[in-house]
Symmetry: C2
Subunit: 213 residues, 2 copies
DNA sequence: CGACCAGTTGAGCTTGTTCAAGGCATGTGG
DNA sequence: CCACATGCCTTGAACAAGCTCAACTGGTCG
């Protein structure tokens, strides 16, 4: 480990199309992978939390595939390249697999869930990730997100996120207070929304095999 | 290279949660990464075309993260693990980076594009990928997709895909005939829809820096 | 001929967007 | 201390995009 450096909130850590150097570990703070359309529409592709790796790549791939911006002040640490310390390879591989899993969940949310489900699923995932990083305290998490950022993650407008949060609050499923979120009963919420099915019998439906239903 | 095996269309190549073995190369045919919600809603997370690798992973990661189903009959080839032939590592790394890039494009489509843009962007990407694989002939591609499958890729209903294809045909931007698609002028189509912006000035907008506008 | 699959079309409805305004807390300069 | 600006959240009303349900076409295959 090298000494950490800090990046102020709202600055780009990496810019799409620019070369990337060594991998970077987030020691503290939140960041986001972001992409824009020409007319200004914005999508947050994924969040980067403490413990996540930025810019880790399996070859001389000098080009950043997305920009990364700091959502808060960040403490960053240059991480050793996996070639230097072979013992780190499993850790890097796991980090990579997790990254991919989060992208796939994001696609599922955006493609097939409604606003209520997207919010619920997003916060459930966030709780899990923060718990993995040792940053979850019971049913309440602290975060730097505004409703606008949440909207940019889950592909809705700020207004609709606000209204849907209101619905969830009315249902006593979620409490939003700027800077933190409480899920009174995560398991109940998870059961309430339709989450991913891994049943092979369900998969058969994909193939148009209707004899099973 | 080993001898190819074949898998019939509509069968699972990999099942979510099951162990995966050696990486597999698609020699011919199309496949899809698929996920389902408990109530049957279906999302195609990404397409797998000839030349793509399935189940390549940087560690003893024995579990498939998504199911993969064959959309057509497939010819598959067990690919050598990258540990066995070091010279393959760059190729595998590039394959991995491309995979990630396609997932990110998918998130952008689903999160912030309307139906017309999603269709256009999807087919433009498909044309590029098939061209990379040496399978594009001018402005016309051959594919095994039904409108239902397209709908499952881009997160819409079959009916709406059908109507939007009708709009595009009216605009002379795209011609759908079962089994193949023609883009009379891909460049014009690409210019017509709002595609990804990589401009740093645009990125500044993300950070709420309004002095630049 | 009948069954089935892929595509097509219509009408009514739901979900989420847009535009606009206002509330509340915090911070800052006079 | 007050006036004013700013960031974040909240709310209303009108609208538009996409969904649902249902029916129908044309082609193919047994």
């Amino acid at each position: 480990m090298q000494r950490p450096r800090t990046v102020a909130g709202n600055l780009e850590v990496l810019v799409e199309g620019k070369p990337i150097g060594d991998p970077i570990l987030i020691v503290s703070g939140w960041a986001a992978r972001v992409r824009l359309l020409a007319d200004g529409r914005k999508q947050i592709l994924g969040l980067l939390l403490p413990g996540d790796l930025i810019g880790h790549c399996y070859q001389p791939c000098p080009i950043a595939i997305t920009s990364i911006i700091a959502l808060t002040n960040l403490e960053l640490c240059r991480a050793p390249s996996s070639e230097t310390y072979e013992s780190l390879q499993p850790a890097y591989a796991i980090s990579h697999s997790l990254d991919e899993a989060y992208l796939l969940s994001q696609i599922m949310r955006l493609g097939r869930m409604n606003a209520y489900e997207r919010l619920a699923d997003f916060f459930l995932e966030l709780f899990e990730r923060l718990a993995l990083a040792g940053l979850a305290a019971g049913n309440k998490i602290y975060h730097p997100l505004t409703q606008e950022m949440v909207a940019d993650v889950i592909g809705l407008t700020t207004v609709h996120v606000n209204r849907t949060l209101g619905l969830m609050r009315r249902d006593r499923e979620l409490i939003w207070e700027t800077g933190h979120v409480t899920l009174p009963d995560p398991d109940a919420l998870s059961a309430r929304i339709a989450r991913v099915s891994t049943k092979v019998t369900a998969l058969r439906r994909v193939t148009g095999d209707k004899t099973q239903e």
